[in-house]
């Protein structure tokens, strides 16, 4: 073990460094100059994201507690990009008066949760996994409750932290049983050992429930909508995009790495859960008025689509998941970017408020429409490709009925996405949201999303790269 091998943990280390620099900067800047920290944070994070793309070695550290493979790096980079966009988007909001005394903490908390996710991704044993999970959750609860002046924010925070504690309790119970049965917490030791028996089933399901909670799969999703609604917009986007994406990926690799011997079991579980998630998420989304809540349910159902890749249980599925994660980041952040921009400007978050938006703010509406279409899986935006590949992955394993249910669910989801489109383009309003000029950061954030949406699909290179990495797994 030498210094060089620490570079394997480059992503995490750089992130922690960024966090520390921000912390130090906060301490040593006067109140007048604090505003610059925002710029600093974005720049630092951008640098971090770029560093992430530098070629890296792979391997494992700490006796297998930390492993990194190319695919991990890809996923981390994707999460970096997503977080970068969120940071850019949240700039306007953090500028506001009410956040003036605490916005540097926002960066700290956000980055620490990202670190948690990175560790989860690279975890080689259940302990690291659990620590990463908590690191990705506890500060997040603080972030949800960040907006001290709103009841909803606090309510969201308490709901998140208590239910996550509850779920991690259940998950730990499962892990403890696995440990008891197979005598290790290391993934590489467990992998061949796990066999099918009823206690394993119990333990697996307890564990799975914990993960499902994190991804907000039905029926473990109930916290999600309330928390999403309560949280500040940018935190919601972080929750629904980065946190969820990471969790899905982690679930997948754990299923692949730890439980391949009982894939019969978990494929069935995932099947059931996927169907429920897609359907119930959609059914709830239909009748939402608050856009954040709306997107909360929509992203619940999106999580169900991710499971189509999970159930495939092969490289194809893995690639599809990672690819869709990227697409999903762009799409959902596009939606959230618009919601945030409008929410910051006018405080309006209801679908009805968006009536006639196209006539006053055409560019925002178009962005929103493209992003929604991407979520619904409509060409030519990237969501189409993402969904298609997910379906292909599931179909490859012969889960045609599941694919059929999923495609039917895309129709339901299309319905409610179209409701928003309808509000913006078709409905007339006496008092539409007036025209406003977005600042540079908002434009940049949305621009990145649009570019991502348009390019990701047509440029097959992205997919190919991920596929190559996934095959290396």
């Amino acid at each position: 073990m030498n210094l060089n091998s620490f570079l394997l943990m480059r992503h995490e280390i750089v992130l922690i460094a960024v966090a520390l620099i921000i912390l130090i900067a906060e301490i040593f800047t006067s109140d007048q100059n604090k505003g610059r920290i925002r710029g600093l944070a974005v720049i630092l994070f951008a640098i971090n994201a770029i560093i992430g793309f530098l070629p890296a070695e792979t391997g494992s550290l700490f006796g297998g507690m930390y492993t990194t493979v190319p695919l991990h790096i890809v996923v981390k980079n994707i999460l970096n990009i997503g977080t970068l966009i969120i940071l850019i988007q949240s700039n306007t909001w953090l500028k506001s008066e009410e956040n003036s005394d605490k916005f540097p903490e926002f960066y700290l908390l956000l980055i620490s949760t990202l670190v948690g996710m990175f560790y989860m991704i690279s975890a080689g044993d259940f302990l690291m996994f659990y620590l990463g999970l908590e690191l990705a959750t506890i500060p997040l609860a603080a972030l949800v409750a960040y907006d001290r002046y709103r009841n909803n924010s606090a309510e969201g925070g308490i709901k998140l932290i208590l239910s996550s504690a509850f779920s991690s309790g259940i998950m730990l119970y499962g892990i403890s049983m696995i440990y008891g049965m197979y005598g290790s917490i290391y993934f590489d030791m467990l992998n061949p050992a796990i066999a099918m028996n009823s206690l394993t089933v119990l333990a697996f399901i307890f564990f799975f429930a914990g993960m499902a909670f994190k991804i907000s799969l039905v029926p473990f999703h109930l916290w999600a909508a309330d928390v999403y609604e309560g949280a500040p917009v940018n935190v919601t986007s972080y929750l629904s995009v980065i946190s969820k994406g990471a969790a899905v990926f982690i679930l997948t690799i754990i299923l692949f790495k730890v439980f391949p011997t009982i894939s019969d079991l978990w494929q069935k579980v995932v099947w059931v859960i996927a169907v429920m998630t897609m359907t119930i998420g959609n059914l709830f989304a239909i009748r939402q008025q608050n856009l954040k809540r709306f997107i909360a349910f929509s992203s619940i159902s999106q999580a169900g689509f991710f499971l189509l890749g999970v159930i495939g249980g092969n490289q194809m599925g893995m690639t599809a998941i990672v690819y869709y994660m990227l697409v999903y980041i762009f799409s959902n952040l596009g939606v959230f970017g618009v919601i945030a921009a409008i929410s910051n400007q006018s405080g309006k978050e209801n679908i009805d408020d968006y009536n006639g938006l196209y006539h006053t703010n055409p560019k925002l509406s178009l962005t929103m429409m493209l992003a929604l279409f991407s979520l619904a899986g409509i060409p030519p935006v990237a969501g189409f490709f993402g969904k298609f590949f997910l379906f292909t992955a599931a179909a490859q394993k012969g889960f045609y009925i599941l694919v059929l249910i999923a495609t039917i669910n895309t129709i339901i989801s299309l319905y409610y996405y179209l409701l928003v489109v309808k509000a913006m383009f078709i409905n007339k309003s006496e008092t539409p949201i007036p025209y406003f000029k977005s600042d540079f950061m908002t434009k940049l954030g949305l621009g990145l999303c649009i570019a991502g949406l348009v390019i990701t699909g047509f440029a097959s290179g992205v997919w190919e790269m991920i596929a190559k990495m996934a095959f290396g797994m």
């Binding site: 908590e134 909803n152 309510e155």
Partner: protein, 106 residues
């Protein structure tokens, strides 16, 4: 061995019962703080599991032992944040009755 004559399953039964006592508490208590206490019960029972397994089945490595150590640490951190939020809730709602914290629904 200090535990001679006591079957491992007995420990597990105790911990499981404790676990579900915690679950019951989580499901029924009205006060947010008591809910937090229930969570502690749950985590505690998990700790017992880890330690028991470690001691009875895999004594030569300390994996379970350290796992529960970290769980305790995390429980503390969690409690800290949770209590901070609870206090915040108290400021907003003037109560910490969980049933009143339901402004967002459907």
């Amino acid at each position: 061995m200090l535990n001679a004559g006591i079957p491992m399953e007995a420990f597990l039964v105790v911990s499981t019962l404790m676990f579900f006592a915690g679950v019951y508490g989580f499901l029924t208590r009205r006060n947010l703080i008591t809910i937090l206490m229930s969570v502690e019960l749950i985590l505690n029972s998990v700790n017992i599991n880890f330690l028991v397994f470690n001691r009875f089945l895999f004594p030569d490595k300390l994996q379970g032992h350290f796992f529960s150590l970290f769980i305790i640490a995390i429980a503390a951190a969690e409690a800290a944040v949770a209590i901070a939020i609870i206090i915040n809730i108290y400021r907003h709602f003037n109560t910490i009755n969980v049933e009143n914290v339901d402004k967002m629904k459907y």
